[in-house]
């Protein structure tokens, strides 16, 4: 019996030590981000609309992954915080959430962060008591404003199923992406920057469809501008862009697009030419009358 107690004690100490090691990766920012994600979850569990909404930024876009991690199959779910609020109001009145949330990955760069979560548990219909099992992977983007991290976008229902590509076109979105291509080729950083939203973020998809592998490369337009100032005097871009799919929300306020870009650069100071062919995901928002790019993800994983 003494032996069993001893082994149990050692196991507990060992488990705690492993826990401490894992916690070693935490930073003050990731703790704050967990709090924001936790406010959303707690709001759902308590049926507290205000608590849930407190986690969300005033500018919000939500996408439906439709069971895939490939943005070519995503659609627009909510185009604003108000749309989310309306949907939540109904949802929380109708359903009781008994779910847990794990947060496998958080990445922070400046004022921009991404997180992936897995929600599991059950959702119970408050009227008839029927239960629905939940297992949902989500990708979140967050922005830090006045020392608080708030959710600026999420993609719900991510999964491993093949994306049903939804080829569609939108002239306005298509025009913005064409202008981006032209401005880049012209080396015009002013024109280029005018196409991006202030809180724009950029990612390197690492040729993966796993959102946890995507790396933040630009946190905000200011950083992107610094990059352009440094880069554009030394290289000339040639971009051949093919718009593969566009999804625009019913309110015409949010859009998501995927392009196939052949990018080639030549250098001012030498003979090398560098080229890459890549899928690029774009999200765009029309908040002040013009479409602006809110997210740009290079090197998106290949479509099978």
């Amino acid at each position: 019996m003494g032996h069993i107690v001893k082994i149990a004690r050692i196991t507990i100490v060992f488990t705690l030590l492993i826990g401490l090691r894992a916690e070693g990766a935490e930073t003050p920012e990731t703790i704050l981000i967990r709090q924001t994600l936790s406010a959303d979850l707690s709001g759902h569990r308590r049926g507290d609309l205000d608590l849930t909404l407190s986690a969300y930024d005033e500018y919000l876009a939500a996408y439906d992954g439709n069971g895939s991690s490939d943005p070519r199959g995503w659609s627009i779910r909510h185009e604003s915080r108000d749309a989310l609020k309306a949907s939540l109001e109904q949802d929380l009145q109708a359903n009781r959430y008994e779910t847990e949330r794990t947060v496998p990955a958080i990445q922070v760069r400046g004022n921009v962060a991404t997180a992936t979560t897995i929600d599991s548990g059950r959702v119970i219909d408050r009227q008839n008591g029927t239960e629905r099992t939940v297992y949902e992977k989500r990708l979140w983007t967050l922005f830090k404003r006045e020392d608080r991290w708030r959710i600026t976008a999420f993609v719900a229902s991510l999964g491993d199923s093949a994306a049903p590509v939804r080829p569609s076109a939108n002239d306005e979105v298509s025009a913005v992406l064409a202008r981006e291509e032209e401005a880049r080729e012209a080396g015009d950083s002013g024109d280029l920057l005018s196409l991006f939203a202030e809180n724009f973020s950029g990612y390197d998809g690492k040729e993966s469809l796993n959102p946890a592998a995507w790396k933040i490369i630009f946190s905000g337009t200011e950083e992107f501008e610094k990059h352009l100032v440094r880069r554009l005097p030394h290289v000339a871009y040639q971009v051949d862009r093919q718009l593969l799919s566009t999804q625009v929300g019913p309110q015409q306020r949010e859009a998501i697009a995927v392009t196939r870009d052949k990018v080639q650069v030549t250098h001012e100071r030498g003979e090398s030419e560098h080229a890459v062919e890549q899928y690029v995901m774009w999200t765009l928002s029309k908040r002040d009358g013009d479409w602006k790019i809110t997210n740009m993800l290079y090197n998106l994983g290949p479509s099978e």
């Binding site: 760069r109 933040i216 950083e223 440094r230 030394h234 250098h267 560098h274």
Partner: protein
């Protein structure tokens, strides 16, 4: 007053513009590296330009090694561009040798990087020299599946005075892969005195590539001769030892000049090198020091003579003769050296020395006999148990214990 203020502001402005000019030069060269194929003339020109700038470029170049550098302001979308920058930065850092670069360099020699990057970083680690973390990382590469990586790691280790990679370099030098032979020879040439033991061993082994090996030895010898005038006495000392290991008679004169070096260690190492080449100047220097009034010089002489005798055997006859020298200090020193070098041929002469009139000679002789451990020494040593000198009697007892232990071990 006004004039001095004006001068002050002018100097500040001048120094600031100097900084920004250097910054701009670094930026331009970095862009030139990114814009040209590795090892192309333009790429090399950029590398050379950054080497000429030296330390002020080190921080920026060290940053270029890190994959996390290529985000945000420094984002570069092409992996090939990063490879050119990382490879070039490693080449420059290997030349300007900032110790702080070892950590970032060792992180880039793993299989997650391209072979070009790995080789450049391995080379730079070797050039920067011994840092334990670098040695550990390089040793791990000795089991890499790519023989080129193993060879470069072995050479870098050799430059850090670590012999773990000797076998890898020897294998390359005895093989038929011309590229690998060239890399090994270039590495040995760059390794200066660190590569000499392996060079000397390989050329004596009479394998293939003898003519190329001799050319490399000539190259290294020329650098070692220059090294003899280096301001750092340690480099002068290592240079003299290495020239002794190469054993080329044409370097005797420059070595003899070093016998009057201001550093004791350089003088003794040079004398030992000359003695190892059977040169009278070196042997005489050490024997003369062995009878010097200064006990430190005598201790040095004994140590170096023992080393020479162990490594080359060139001073054996002189040491045995010295046991019959008229000066007691010489006899005592010779007995000590013969014992430390365990010269079996000296046993008879040492047995004679056990009845020397000088107690120090008797004591050293009995210690030497204990070390050499021949059975025929037992009864003369036993006779010394009742020596009037306490020290001699004490060491006689000690020597008998040594004989017992050795004979017990043999039994």
């Amino acid at each position: 007053m006004r004039a001095s203020i004006a001068v002050f502001f002018f100097s500040v402005a001048l120094s600031l513009s100097g900084c920004s000019t250097t910054e701009q030069q670094i930026t331009d060269y970095v862009e030139q590296m990114a814009a040209n194929p590795v090892d192309s003339p333009a790429w090399r020109e950029a590398v050379d330009g950054l080497i000429a700038i030296g330390r002020p470029a080190a921080r920026q170049l060290t940053a270029q090694l890190n994959p996390d550098h290529y985000v945000g302001e420094h984002y570069r979308e092409f992996r090939e561009e990063q490879e050119k920058l990382r490879t070039g930065s490693a080449r420059v850092l290997g030349r300007i040798k900032p110790r702080g670069a070892t950590g970032p360099l060792k992180d880039r020699i793993t299989t997650a990087n391209t072979d070009t990057e790995r080789i450049a970083c391995i080379w730079a680690l070797g050039e920067i020299g011994f840092v334990q973390a670098g040695v550990d990382a390089l040793k791990a590469q000795l089991s890499d599946s790519n023989s080129l990586i193993r060879l470069h790691a072995a050479i870098a280790l050799l430059k850090m005075d670590d012999e773990s990679g000797y076998e890898e370099v020897s294998t390359a030098l005895s093989g038929t892969d011309d590229a690998q032979v060239r890399i090994a020879l270039d590495g040995l040439a760059e390794a200066k005195h660190f590569g000499v033991p392996l060079l000397a061993r390989t050329v004596r082994a009479d394998g293939p590539h003898q003519s190329a090996l001799r050319q490399t030895i000539d190259q290294v010898s020329a650098r070692l001769v220059e090294q003899l005038d280096h301001e750092d006495p340690e480099l002068r000392r290592r240079g003299a030892i290495a020239l002794g290991q190469l054993g080329n008679a044409q370097h005797v004169d420059v070595l003899v000049e070093r016998l009057s070096d201001p550093s004791n260690q350089v003088r003794f190492s040079t004398a030992a090198a000359l003695a190892g080449m059977d040169q009278a100047a070196g042997i005489d220097f050490l024997f003369s020091a062995m009878r010097d009034a200064d006990p430190i010089l005598r201790t040095n002489a004994v140590k170096f003579l023992a080393d020479v005798q162990k490594e080359t055997g060139t001073v054996e006859a002189q040491l045995i003769d010295a046991l019959s020298n008229s000066e007691a200090l010489t006899r005592a020193g010779a007995a000590q050296v013969l014992g430390q070098a365990r010269v079996v041929a000296a046993v008879d002469a040492l047995l004679n020395a056990t009845i020397d009139a000088d107690a120090q000679v008797r004591a050293n002789a009995v210690i030497a006999l204990g070390r050499i451990g021949r059975a025929e020494s037992r009864s003369p040593i036993e006779a010394l148990l009742s020596d009037p000198d306490e020290t001699v009697a004490y060491y006689a007892e000690w020597a008998l214990r040594q004989l017992d232990a050795q004979q017990g071990g043999e039994g």
